[in-house]
Structure formats: structure tokens, C-alpha cells
Subunit: 338 residues, 2 copies
Amino acid sequence: MIRVAVDAMGGDNAPRAEIEGAVRALAAVPGDFRLQLVGRSAAIEAELARHPDVNRERIDIVEAPDVIGMGEKPLASVRRKPKSSIVVGLTLQKGGRSDAFVSAGNTGAVLAASTLLLGLHDGVERASVATLFPTADEPVLVLDGGANVDCSPRELVGFAVLGSVYMRDMLGRPNPSVGLLNVGEEEEKGNAQAREAHQLLKRTPRINYRGNIEGRDILAGHAQHGPIDVVVCDGFVGNVVLKFYESMARLIVRLVKRKAPGILEREDVRDVFRVLDYSEYGGAPLLGVRGVSIICHGASSGNAVKNAIRVAVQAVDAHLSQHIGAEFAGRITAATSA
Amino acid sequence: MIRVAVDAMGGDNAPRAEIEGAVRALAAVPGDFRLQLVGRSAAIEAELARHPDVNRERIDIVEAPDVIGMGEKPLASVRRKPKSSIVVGLTLQKGGRSDAFVSAGNTGAVLAASTLLLGLHDGVERASVATLFPTADEPVLVLDGGANVDCSPRELVGFAVLGSVYMRDMLGRPNPSVGLLNVGEEEEKGNAQAREAHQLLKRTPRINYRGNIEGRDILAGHAQHGPIDVVVCDGFVGNVVLKFYESMARLIVRLVKRKAPGILEREDVRDVFRVLDYSEYGGAPLLGVRGVSIICHGASSGNAVKNAIRVAVQAVDAHLSQHIGAEFAGRITAATSA
């Protein structure tokens, strides 16, 4: 039985969106799992009362009286608030009493607490937020999505490995191809970081590295040298592109409302926007930690939380964290014996 | 009489798109200007023959037998090919025989040749490619768009000044507001470069600096602290976001074709895509050089070239380069007397 802890106090719409997401997940997400709703019990109970049909036998409520606010400094707040929903939820997992954590709360605090409490697998230098980008065909994984704004070329190589394991385990792509996000495809393109990362990636065994790719290749899902499954970049670039993408659907809706308002009612047009709706993809996993930690957008809807729970269940079920650990352990062994 | 030199041999569709753009510009772009078509005279004449109605009295053909290819190394090719259309066109301007240069050729070569031949205004550390991003309301200027992949915080401040002068002169915004592209709005956000640039920008006189902005604020055209006219970032991030944006319209068209094909015939829907069509915005000016140099996308259509010529005429007419020179000279004087 998989146990998923949900930070009930995290997002901008907490606890309503979280509880709604939990209820929807219990109804719709396949798998043998139960939920641990972490936060202020009274507030959680009040929201649960809005869903009289929910199966309470699959729900535990775990009291956590404190909340880390969106504006609080990540590391300081994690240290100062051991009874916050973020720290309590991840401590459950650290103690073996939970298998995954889902939060739409302060992203920096979730990152810090996940790294501190769960720890990193041996050989992983930095954990990385991995984000699926919808494309016209299959989604593409971009990492890092904002956990690491200053990255060394070696860390970018680590992201390539993390992303490759994720795409194998979670999207069933047997040999995921990796592109390095750059300003051009040629060898000599890019800043110092990208040029060195390109050289390191070319020499990295057991990844399917295809070379430099450009901003336009992400949504296309392919570059000059073939399809792209994993896009590697530092967290500064990744975060800017991710937020830019999120704003795109809003721009199109504004333009359509102004210029062609009638079509927004059409089911086929809604279908187009559904593809662009990041909430369908659930949260972004923090890859590299010993465990499962899923980060949701602060503005997550109930639907987004439901999908994040789906990702959490799937990650536990697929043994994603264990496979990442084994992959990095194998690389250490290979490097030592070489 | 404004003289605009057009690199007839530059783009992927040269010389056809260039000549078509020139012909369309003569018919549609207001202003008292003539065009200097730079390239292989025979090829230019052959294309001009397709437009028997064009007013040949407003056209000069300037022979340049060499072409710098898209794959050639910028600096080396500029040095090795003095008779290339790029070098010949910019040499005209350097010698006072032309007022502006427009090219859809090898971007790196146009950058290198513009900087070498025209030189930089005193006080400008780096020239910057400034790109207008369509939004639902007024366009936003993003710079640098790819000329400088490794930037110092001081250079980012220079871009803020360059962009501010551009928006005043070219889009008539009297007090353009500037945002620094970052991963969050708070003071301490970002990598080392962004944090230092933020501190420098806060202390920079005579710009309307509004603080850090996020990827989502670009298309919104405003951030927490109000509207944004100019977005400053290094050329790596700017280039990735620019190319990502260009690919967006393609993604939407693919999705619509698959899910709601009928609506693509509707004029109001076409209107939506027209807003997103970067070719409507013409080329991207290289700001900071002593003169006018407009860089077009390699895949530019005739319409894009026409619009780039419009931008060139407007830049000369508005004395953009002179105003940039005066702005930086004033800053040197202020710094020296302070």
C-alpha cells in the first residue's frame, strides 16, 4: 500500500484545492494508495466535510500546526518551523512512515526540506526539479526548472542522467534522447558553462546525448539530430522558459477573447487549450533525493493537485528513486574501477 | 533622403525574399528613402525582373560578389570576405554613403561586421540585439537577444539604457519602464549575475527601473510593480526565450490543425495568429553601434524584410543612433564630474 503525504496547507488556495485534489485523486487515480493529509486538522476536517462521499478509510490526517508562508526564506523557515506541514510531511517519509510527498507550498522550502530530510543519493551533486512541457506530440522533460540557478557543467551532466531515468521509468521511453539547451547547434556555441557541459555530455556513458538544441526545439520535441525527450539547462534558464510557457496559454486566451470570442465555447477549441494546460501534467518531481517529493505550482487547482498525486503514486510504483540511486551508484563504481 | 542598404544575398530565401521585401517596402513604407541592394548584380536584376512595376529610380544596385554563408565563422568570414554583401553594405554606411543596413544573413557575421566597421558609441561596452515581443497589448522589448551569451552585470545595465532610448525614439514611450529578467521578484533572487545587476540597476540614474520580473511577465507586459516596456537579460537567456516564442505559434497551429481544423479558415482566427507573427515586427536592431544595423531572421519572408526596412527608415528618421550616443556621452560626463 503506497502512502502519499499531501501538504494540505501549501498552495495559494490551501486547504481547499489540496483537499479537493486529494478527494479527486482517491476517485480517479489508479493504484493501491492512501493519503496522509498534513496540516491543521480542523481546517482539513472542515474542507473534507464538503466531500461527504469520500472514502475516509483511505485518508489519514496528520496534525501540523505551522505553515511556511510563500514569502518566507526557505532554509531559515524550515529550521524554524519543525511543526510546519512541509517539515512534518517529509519527516514522515524520512522515518519510513510515508512513501511520497506532494506540496504546492513555498517551493524553496520544499526543496530545502526535501534535500535536508531525505538526503541525496550517492553521486548526485544537486537535486533537480524536472518539468514536463506539453508539445504537439509527446511531452518533453526540461530540467532544471528552478532549483539551481547557478550550475556547474558537471551538475548539468547529473541532470541529464536524472532526466533519462525519469523518462524511462515514468514515460516508458526506453532510450531517452538528451539535448543541451543552447543558443545554436554548433559545437562552439554558447556561454562558457554550455560549451563545457557539451564536451562533458559527449563523453558521458549510458545516456543518449544528441548535442546542443535551441529554444525552438523544446516545443517541437525534436532537433536537427532527431527527437528530444530530455532538455538539460541550468535552473535560471529553465525557470524563465517554464514561466514564459505557462503565460503563453493566458496570452492566447486573451487574444482569442478579443478577436474571435465565439470560438472559446467550442469543444474542439477547448481541446487545444487542454493540451497547453500544465495542470494536466501534475507536479514536478524533485529528482535525486532519496525518496519522492513532488512540487506543485503555488496556484495549483484541485485538478493539478490530483495529477501531482498521480505522479507521486506512479513514481513510488515505478521505484523511480531506487532506480536513480542504482544508476548513480553504477556510475561511481564504473568511475572507480576505470 | 534616407539611404537603406539591403543585403540581397543574406537569408535562407535570398535573393528572392530580399528583393520582394525591397519592392514591397518601396510601395508601402512611408518616408523619403531609397534602397541600395547589395549583392550579385545579375541575381538581383533577375529577381527585379519579376517586379516590372517597381520604381527603379529609388533603387541602386551595389555589386558584392561574395556571400558569407550561414555556417561560416563570423569574425573569420568577415575578415576573409571584404567583397561580401555584409561587409560591402556596412562599408557604405561607414563611408557616409548609406544610413542603415538590413540583413537576414549570418547573424554572427552581421554583428561582428557592424561592430568592427561602424564601431560603438563611447561608453557602450557591448552592442545588443533588441527584439520586440508581441503581447496582447503593446509589444515589449527584450534585450539582449543573443549577441552576448556571457554578460557582466555592468553590461546588463548598458542594455537597460539602450532599450530605454529605443522605446522612447521608436515606440514613443516617454518613460519606458525596465525589468530585469529573473527567477523571482524578491531582491535576493537569481544567480550571481542577476543579483549584482539588480543592485546596479537600482542605482542607475535616468532609467525607470522596476526591479526583477519573471518569465511570465514578458507576455503579460506587466509585473507586480506595473507595466514593463524593456526586459533586460543576457543573450543566452534572451535567445532561448526568443526562439521558444517563435516556435509557439507553430505549436498552436499544429494543435489547431489536429483538433479544430475548421477554424483556421476564419478571418478572426487568422487575426489571432497575425499578432503572434514575429515577421510583422521586422528585424531586430543592433543597438549601441554608430549607425543603424537591422538583423533579420534567416528564414525571413518578403514581408519580414519589408518590415525590417520600415524599422531601418524609422530609426534613421528618429535619430536613434545619435540619441544613444548622446545618452551615453551624458552618462560619461555625469560620472566624470561626480
